[in-house]
């Protein structure tokens, strides 16, 4: 790579963007104006909210003689919010004068918005409260002359006092505010009556509150302030890093395409990698600048405005330094993603359409870590973006040691994600179909014509994606319609409906309608060697100890939540009690056939038309994983999907994959039923676990891994032995226009089956 060209391109792009008023506005002007304006608005709005008066109607007679007063004139006695309540009593309300049912009328008036809330005192409320007090006094007097063992309270009849009622409309914000104010006032009035009752009964007030609970906040001011920033800064950082990258990316790629300047640049001596890297560096710089200016503006606004609020101060300097360190990889990641998307867009307008999907994908990764229950652990630190957010939060809250423990994992994942996205962006610049994507007029007629009449031999990329989406959608709705299976028969029905109805049926229909060679599209071809089938079975058996280890690892990283656990245990018990052969048929045989036909058959062969072999395998595996629906299952299924995809590519058929899948699922199914004898050698390799089943000792894992390695080496050589009409697994072995059809293994579609595999 010629870095002189990269520097030239970088300098030009920076100069170009700095002359663009829209970019300057987004990067420099908006942050400077936005936060002070937001701060001022916030203060104004909060002031407005605080001063907002609410109208309250009081129905019934709450003026009780001998009790602490609730009203003073036309106001509540309580201070504070009572000043903000405009009280009107029922006699002053003309519409209540002749009302047969005052409560119903009050209800109507609140519903109509005449009042924000109403308080209804039942007719006998005062009488019953007075009676209660009299009973209480009598009880207190009798207790004074009774033996110490007697229980005076037993004679008190506290029940039967009708409750005053607050009538409000929670669909109305003002009514909600009125409710909160009234609830507080009436609660405090009730407490005063209670205290008065105690005093009149000769008991000290402390009898009702023998002790108070004190809060001992161990945090110092600095940490309390930091915790506020810990919630704000990561989100700001990520949102602005993305926004700051997006607009320059669209202008520098889609804009250049639109203006025709990209073509000129492409035939200059600057290589495409140099162009991509130069643009990426420029976008990154603008992303970083946007974040820095936003943070500075937030800081200054906070200094003048927010720092006056309690519990809100300036963030610690060390934490700010950590934010700056995190800024570079985050900006690199988002800049590369934006660059790749912008390179794909044909115009700036189209490019801007891509912002919302990108935000929708990114936001959950940013916002979810802000939930109190989500903590920095190994599992979460392995999730791109989320790991960074959690790490930053830990650093900002001052948990340095905890953060440092997971910093390597977060760094590795982030760097890996950065490299992948940068590579994707560079590949976009090397792809003619991306750079010179024509604006084709799309019509249903042409599309249907091509779809059915000009059918390709094997599925297109779009057909493969469509098939995956159809499977996902049907699976989703089926999972909503199904509850927990009541018995094994119900479970069997569920598995068959999902596997046949949701996975294999749409796949076969699409293969028949959209391709000229359904057999090849589904991967139902002769494998390179028939011995690949038993070899795949051997591979599954050899990998079984490692698969068990992987499952345990995933469960440790992402434990199943306690709320779901009982359902899983119930299922496991059901499987344990079921006959083994029907169980194997449902969990090993049916999913192996159905899922392989869909994922390694139709979908993988479709992906291979437009992607390189490993990318096609990877995406089909991701889709296979996503179909499982349960995070733990999805991770394992994705790993399994990569291996199954590779087997399909190497052997040129889905049959070895079906065999592998069958053995893999079968072994996991019967694991809980294995009973170890007293064979010493076996005891060294396999150990029983509590609650049934076995686990594998390290020697067994090592032996299995060695055997698996040898088998995979055999598979790796398989493509060389294949005849020329069978597609090889090697990159670019086939022309892209007509890649070899590879069968795919089905993804785990049934949640129950997935649970069993787990």
């Amino acid at each position: 790579m010629n870095f002189s060209n990269v520097r030239l391109i970088l300098a030009r792009e920076i100069r170009d963007q700095l002359r663009d008023r829209r970019t300057l506005f987004m990067i420099a002007v908006l942050p400077i104006l936005l936060y002070p304006l937001l701060g001022m608005s916030l203060l104004q709005v909060s002031q407005f909210m605080q001063e907002q008066k609410t109208r309250v109607l009081v129905v019934g007679e709450p003026r009780l003689t001998g009790f602490p007063p609730l009203f003073e004139g036309n106001r509540f006695v309580e201070g504070g919010p009572s000043q903000l309540l405009e009280v009107r009593f029922a006699p002053d309300e003309p519409e209540l004068h002749d009302a047969a049912d005052p409560r119903a009328e009050a209800d109507r008036l609140v519903r109509a918005g005449r009042y924000d809330a109403a308080v209804f005192f039942p007719p006998d409320f005062a009488t019953r409260l007075g009676e209660f007090r009299a009973t209480l006094h009598a009880s207190a007097r009798s207790t004074a002359v009774a033996t110490p063992q007697s229980n005076g309270s037993a004679k008190v009849r506290p029940l039967g006092i009708p409750s005053p009622e607050i009538i409000c409309n929670t669909a109305n914000d003002k009514s909600q505010i009125a409710f909160v104010r009234l609830h507080g006032i009436l609660g405090r009035w009730m407490e005063r009556i209670g205290e008065d009752n105690l005093a009149k009964s000769g008991l000290p007030v402390v009898a009702a509150r023998p002790f108070l609970v004190h809060c001992n906040d161990v945090s110092d001011v600095e940490h309390r302030e930091a915790s506020m920033w810990a919630k704000i800064l990561p989100i700001l950082l990520l949102i602005w890093a993305l926004t700051g990258a997006f607009y320059p990316a669209v202008d520098l790629c889609a804009g250049e395409k639109e203006r025709g300047t990209l073509e000129t640049l492409l035939c200059s001596p600057a290589g495409r990698n140099e162009i991509a890297v130069g643009k990426l560096a420029a976008i990154m710089l603008f992303s970083i600048a946007t974040v820095v200016l936003n943070l500075a503006s937030v800081g200054i606004t906070g200094w003048f405005v927010a720092a006056k609020l309690p519990g809100f101060g300036l963030p610690p300097m060390a934490a700010l330094a950590a934010v700056c360190v995190a800024l570079a990889p985050i900006s690199a990641l988002f800049s590369a993603l934006c660059l790749a998307l912008a390179a794909f867009a044909r115009s700036t307008k189209e490019g801007q359409y891509y912002l919302m999907p990108l935000l929708l994908i990114t936001m959950p990764l940013v916002v979810l870590p802000m939930s109190p229950g989500v903590e920095l652990n190994l599992g979460n630190s392995l999730i791109p973006v989320t790991g960074i957010v959690l790490l930053l939060r830990a650093v900002l809250e001052g948990h340095w040691w905890h953060a440092m423990q997971y910093a390597p994992a977060v760094t590795l994942v982030t760097l890996f994600a950065c490299l992948l996205s940068i590579r994707w962006a560079i590949e976009q610049f090397n792809s003619e179909s991306v750079l010179f994507r024509a604006s084709e007029r799309w019509s249903v007629r042409l599309w249907l014509r091509r779809l059915f009449l000009d059918r390709p031999r094997t599925p297109t990329f779009a057909a493969a994606v469509g098939c995956g989406l159809v499977i996902l959608l049907i699976n989703f709705f089926l999972s909503l319609s199904h509850g927990m299976p009541a018995g094994f028969g119900d479970f069997a029905r569920m598995v068959l409906i999902v596997q046949i109805g949701a996975i294999v049926a749409p796949t076969v229909v699409m293969a028949l309608l959209l391709t000229r060679s359904p057999g090849k599209s589904l991967g139902l071809t002769r494998p390179a060697k028939w011995s690949a089938v038993p070899a795949a079975m051997l591979l599954a058996a050899a990998l079984h100890p490692m698969a068990s280890l992987l499952q345990r690892l995933v469960q440790q990283l992402y434990p199943v939540s306690d709320s779901v656990l009982p359902a899983f245990q119930k299922l496991q018990k059901m499987f344990h009690d079921a006959d083994v052969w029907p169980l194997l048929l449902l969990i090993a045989v049916v999913p192996a056939i159905c899922e392989e036909l869909a994922f390694r058959g139709f979908i993988l062969s479709g992906f291979r038309r437009s992607s390189r072999v490993w990318r096609a395998i990877f995406f089909s595996a991701i889709l296979f994983g996503v179909t499982h629906g349960i995070l733990q299952q999805s991770l394992i299924a994705s790993v399994l999907g990569v291996l199954l995809g590779w087997l399909a590519v190497q052997s040129g058929s889905i049959l070895p994959g079906i065999a592998f899948h069958m053995v893999h699922n079968g072994l996991l199914t019967i694991n809980g039923r294995i009973v170890l004898g007293d064979i010493p050698l076996l005891r060294r390799l396999i150990a029983p676990i509590e609650g049934g089943g076995v686990t594998f000792e390290w020697p067994a894992v090592a032996i299995g891994a060695l055997l698996a390695l040898l088998t995979m080496m055999w598979f790796a050589r398989l493509s060389d032995d294949r005849s020329s009409d069978v597609v090889t697994g090697k990159k670019n072995a086939l022309p892209r226009s007509e890649p070899r059809e590879i069968a795919s293994l089905p993804s785990e579609a049934v949640a129950c089956a997935a649970i069993v595999e787990r």
Binding site: R259, T261, L266, P269, F436, S737
Partner: protein, 259 residues
Amino acid sequence: MIQVHELTKSYSDVRRGQFVALDSVSFQARSGQVYGLLGPNGAGKTTALRILSTILRPTGGTALVNGYDVCTQPDQVRRSIGFVSANTAVYDRMTGWEMVEYFGRLHGLPRDLLADRMERLFAQLKMSDVRDRLGAKMSTGMKQKVSIARAVVHDPPVLIFDEATAGLDVLVARALLNTVAELRDQGKCIVFSTHILREAERLCDRIAIIDRGRILAEGTLEQLRDEHHENDLEELFFQLITRHDQECLETAAVGECAE
């Protein structure tokens, strides 16, 4: 200087399915010669020129530019060419001087040499009015001048003009054609695509008439006239294109036509 042999390029799109934009095209262009590619819209001219300038990769055949293969030696090819397209491809937020300097530096010209050459070029093309003017504020004629200056600043032996006169008024178009003629006289090898037959007649030493990705006729203007017994180039062009279109329609049913 340019040798194209059996050059093929196919695409796939929703409307046309698998579409052959160039079907085994072969021609040669020499130094000091303007080679004209004539064809209607969508004939494959731009595709051919994009392949020659290494923007696109061919799906078949070979193309040598200044002795370098467009597939295996794209860097050398790019250093040997200057490319002027129909859309002037001028950066809105750069001045004329900055733009030419940018491309000169991408071509690795030393600063002193570049400044000297740019001064001469700006004087020669009468570009003093665009020197400090931003691209967004230039007229089409000004933009085309900048585009030419940018293409020739590194003094390439091969120049590619892709419908460079499209959208220009008569005066600017005439000036551009004069510039092309001057460049030819300097010994450059020029490929000039157009669908304006008068330009081709006036400027091109050799002409290839191209339609639907195929070269229908090729030679000097005199050779074409003699071969097809038609003195009027426009009539000759019309006959060739109409006949080829008819053949394609007839053979489309059996799938033999390029399209």
